[in-house]
C-alpha cells in the first residue's frame, strides 16, 4: 500500500500557510504550475524538489538540481542546517527550500478543537453550550477587554489616592482618561504598522498590550517608592528600577512586534532589545550631559508612604552625619581651584597694586593665624 503523507508549508514566522496531502509518488514541489505543491517563493526553483517512494516503502525527498539547494533543518540553530541531496522523511522532518519551510506530517496528526465563534453565532439555542466551549471562556477579545478595564481601574485608583485637593473628582476621571488617550495613540501607530504587514489592524490587542505595560509600570513605580521609603539610601534600588524599566520597555516592544512583524520570534526580540538599549544609551548620555548644569535644585527627598515607619531601615544621628561628610568632598570636588588660581593672582596684583606681589607669600602665611 502506498504511503500517504501531508506536507505543511510554513511562512517565515513558522505559521502553517497551506497543507497538501500526497497520495501518489513521485510528486513535485516548486514554483512551476506543474508542481503538486506550488510555492510562491522567488528563491525556489520551478522544479525544486521531488518526492519518491524508496524501495523500503519510505518517502524520500530529492533535490532536482535547484539553485539554492535543499536544507535539512537543525533542531536548535540555523547554523546546524545541513544541505542535502536526498532526505528520507519522517513525521516532523523540516526541509527548507529557498525561504520556505516544508514540514512532514502524517494524516493522523491531531488538531485542536474548533473555536466557538461567539460574535457570529445564530440566535441563542435552548441547548446547553457544547462542552468544549465551557473551558474556553478566555477569548482574545475578552482578555483584551479585561486587561484594558483592569489597567483603567488601576489608573483611576492611583489618581484617587494621590489627589488631595478639592477638585479631586475631575482629576480622578480625567487623569486615567489622559493616560488611556495617550496609550490609544500609541496603539494606533502599532495598528497601522500591523495593517501594513498583515492587512489587519489588531488595534484592541495593541491597546491591551500597552495598557498592561502601563499598569505594570505603575506597579513598578509604586514598588520602587516603597523600597525607597523603607531604605532611602540603597543605590541598588535605583539600579533594579532602571533594569526593570528597561526590561518592561523591551517586553512591550516585543509584544507589539509579535503581532505586527513577520520576523521570527528570535529576531523580534533582538530588535526590541536593540531599540530599548539604544534608547537607554541616548537617555543616559543626555542625563550625564545635563548633570553638570548648574541649578539650585534640591534632590527629591523621596515619597512618604502610608506606613508606620516601624519597618523602615534607619541610621542613628552619628551615622547620618558620617554619611553627610561625603557631601563636603563631593561639593569641594566641584570647585576647580587650579582654573581660578592664575586669575586670582593677576587680580590680586591689579587690585592691591604692584607692591602687593612681594607680600603675597607672607599674607598667605598670615591667612590662618
Amino acid at each position: 500500500m502506498a504511503p500517504v503523507i501531508v506536507i505543511e508549508v510554513l511562512d517565515e514566522r513558522g505559521q502553517v500557510r497551506s497543507r497538501t496531502r500526497l497520495t501518489s509518488f513521485p510528486a513535485t514541489a516548486g514554483r512551476g504550475y506543474d508542481s503538486h505543491i506550488m510555492l510562491d517563493d522567488p528563491y525556489v526553483d520551478a522544479r525544486h524538489l521531488r518526492f519518491v517512494e524508496a524501495a523500503d516503502g519510505r518517502v524520500v525527498a530529492e533535490d532536482a538540481g535547484s539553485v539554492n539547494g535543499t536544507w535539512l533543518l537543525g533542531r536548535r540553530t540555523a547554523a546546524a542546517d545541513e544541505r542535502v541531496e536526498r532526505a528520507p522523511l519522517a513525521p516532523g522532518t523540516e526541509l527548507r527550500i529557498g525561504r520556505t519551510v516544508l514540514r512532514v506530517r502524517l494524516p493522523d496528526e491531531p488538531v485542536p478543537p474548533a473555536l466557538v465563534d461567539g460574535t457570529r453565532s445564530p440566535a441563542p439555542s435552548l441547548a446547553p453550550p457544547p462542552p468544549a466551549a465551557r473551558g474556553r471562556r478566555l477569548t482574545p477579545a475578552r482578555v483584551t477587554a479585561g486587561v484594558t478595564a483592569a489597567a483603567y481601574a488601576a489608573f483611576a485608583l492611583s489618581a484617587y489616592e494621590s489627589t488631595v485637593d478639592r477638585a479631586a473628582t475631575p482629576a480622578v476621571l480625567f487623569e486615567p482618561l489622559a493616560y488611556v488617550t495617550l496609550f490609544a495613540l500609541w496603539a494606533g501607530v502599532w495598528a497601522l504598522a500591523n495593517r501594513a504587514t498583515w492587512h489587519r489592524f489588531n488595534f484592541a490587542a495593541h491597546l491591551a498590550i500597552v495598557m498592561a505595560a502601563g499598569a505594570v509600570a505603575m506597579l513598578l513605580v509604586e514598588g520602587v517608592q516603597w523600597l525607597e521609603y523603607l531604605s532611602p539610601d540603597t543605590g541598588v534600588v535605583s539600579l533594579v528600577a532602571i533594569a526593570a524599566a528597561l526590561a518592561l520597555a523591551a517586553g512591550l516592544l516585543a509584544a507589539h512586534l509579535s503581532l505586527a512583524s513577520a520576523a521570527p520570534r528570535r529576531r523580534r526580540w533582538r530588535r526590541a532589545v536593540a531599540v530599548t538599549a539604544t534608547l537607554a544609551v541616548v537617555l543616559g548620555v543626555i542625563g550625564v550631559a545635563s548633570d553638570d548644569e548648574f541649578d539650585y535644585e534640591l534632590a527629591d527627598p523621596g515619597e512618604l508612604k502610608p506606613a508606620s515607619g516601624r519597618w523602615a531601615r534607619t541610621v542613628d544621628m552619628g551615622a547620618f552625619l558620617a554619611e553627610a561628610e561625603k557631601l563636603r568632598a563631593r561639593t569641594d570636588s566641584l570647585v576647580t581651584v587650579p582654573a581660578r588660581a592664575p586669575e586670582a593672582d593677576s587680580a590680586a596684583a591689579e587690585t592691591a597694586g604692584a607692591s602687593a606681589l612681594p607680600h603675597e607669600k607672607k599674607s598667605r602665611q598670615r591667612g590662618h593665624r
Binding site: 494621590s162 527629591d300 597694586g353
Partner: protein, 513 residues
Amino acid sequence: MTTGYVTRAPVAGGSIRSSVGAGEHCCPQLVPRRAAGRARRAQPTRGPHVLPDRQFGPRRRSAPCRTLGRAAALAATLSALALATVPRDARAQQRQGTTADVFRRFADRTLRIQVTEAGSAAKASVGTGFYVDAEGHVLTNYHVVAQLVTAPGRYRAEVAGPDGAAAPLTVAALDVVHDLALLAAPRPGPAFFQLGRAEVPRGARLYALGHPRDLGLSIVEGTYNGLLEHTLYPKIHFTGSLNPGMSGGPALDEDGAVVGVNVSTGGDGLSFLVPVAYATDLLDRARGARFRPASDLLGDVARQLRDYQAAYVAPLFAPGTPTVSLGAFTVPTTPAPFFRCWADAKRTAGQPYELVDHRCSTDDEVYVSAEQSSGVVEVRHRVLTSTRLDASQFAALHSREFEGDGEGPFGSDDEVTAFKCETRNVRLKAVEAGGHSAAPAAGERRLRVQLCVRRYRKLERLYDAVLRAAPLGTGVDAPRRVGLVTTLTMSGVTFESVQQLTRRYLERVSWHR
C-alpha cells in the same frame, strides 16, 4: 520696630530669598504681597544694599518702579522747592543755616568713588567715601567696591582728582561683616575726619553726605533713632532719605563727628547706618604694626565670614532654646534674639486639610556680591492636619509638601556649586519626659532627613546647606492624621557648623501621638 516690617514679613514661598532684610530695593514694598514673592523669585538678587548707584546689572529697577521713583522724585523736588522758597519760621532758617554750615565745612572730606569696568572703561557703579587720616586712607562700604574683590581684574575703583583726572584707589582692608572697606588713595585729601566712638541721644539731628544717584554731593538731614534690636550686630536706625550712590558716605552730628556710615535703606526715609565704632576698629587694625596690605582679599573675606558664622551659630538650637508646639509637634523657634518669626494658617473651605506655616529668619544678611548674600539662617515648619483624607492621600499630600518647590536658595554659577544631597531615615532617641510636651513619644523618633550642601566657589570652607526632615508614620492614625515638614536653611557656614546645627536642630524636633 516699625509696622512696615510686620506687614512685609510673611511672603509666600521661598526660603532665604524671601527673608526680610533690614532694607530692600525700592520695589517689593510697593507691590502686593504675592506679586512681591514672584518678583523676588524672578529676580535673583536681594538685600538691602541699594546705595551704590548702579546703572547696569540686576539691580536695575522695573518699569513701574522707575515710574514711581520718578513721581516720588518729582514730589520731593516740589516740596523741597516749596521749603526752600517759603521758609516757615526762624527755627527752620536756623536749621538750614546749620545744614549749610555742615556742608560747607565737611564737603571736601568726602569723595565720589567710581567703580569702572576694565574692559569698556565704563562706569559700573558709584558710591561715596571719606578721608579718615592724613595718609590718604578712605573709608567706604564693602559693597561699593565688592566687585574689586569678587571679580578681581575686571573692575577698578577711581576717584576724580583736583585736576579732574581719575586716580586709582586700592583696597587696603575689609570688614565684610559690617560692610566696611578701607581704601588707599594715591594722595591725602585736603582734610580728614577723626574717627571716634560717637554717642548721640535718640532724636539727635544727623547729616548724611553722599552722591545720590550720582547727581553730585548732597547733604541729607535726618534723625538718629537708636540701634536696631533684631540684628546680630547693631545698626543705626536713621530717619532720613538715603539713596543709591550715597553708600559709604559719612553721617555726622552737628559738630562734624562721624556717627555712622551710610549703608542701606528701607525706603520712605527709613535708612540704616553702620555705627562708627566698627569703622574705628577697622582703621586701628589697618594701622596696627602687624598690618600689611591685603593681597588675598577673598581669603580675608572668607576668614571674616567664618569667624562671623562661628559667633552666631554657637548658641543656635542649643538645649534650653525656645521651642513651640504646633499641634502634635514640638519644634524649635526663635533660635536667637536676632531671629524673627511669623506664622500663618491656611484653612480653605472645602480643602480637605489645613496647613500651619511657621517660619523664623535672621533679619540680617551679609552682602558678599550682587548675587550672593551670606549669614542668613531660616527655620520653617509646615504642619498638615486632616480628618478627611485617607492614609494614602495624606501620604501623597505629605510627600508633596516635603518635596516643596524643590528649590534651594538662589545662587549663581559663579559663586556657588550645585547642591549635592544625602537622604536617610534617621532614628533619634526618645525625648526625656518633661518640657511642655504632655506625652513624650514612646520609644525612638524616626524621620526622613535630607541634607543638601553646596560650596562657595571663591570663598574657602564656606557652604550653603538645606536640611529637610519629615517624621515617619504620623499620618497613619485615623481619624486625625498629622504631618510635619521642617526645613532649616543655612548660608555662609562652615561644614562643621552644618553638622552641628543638623544634630542640634533635629534633636529638638519631637512629637506625640
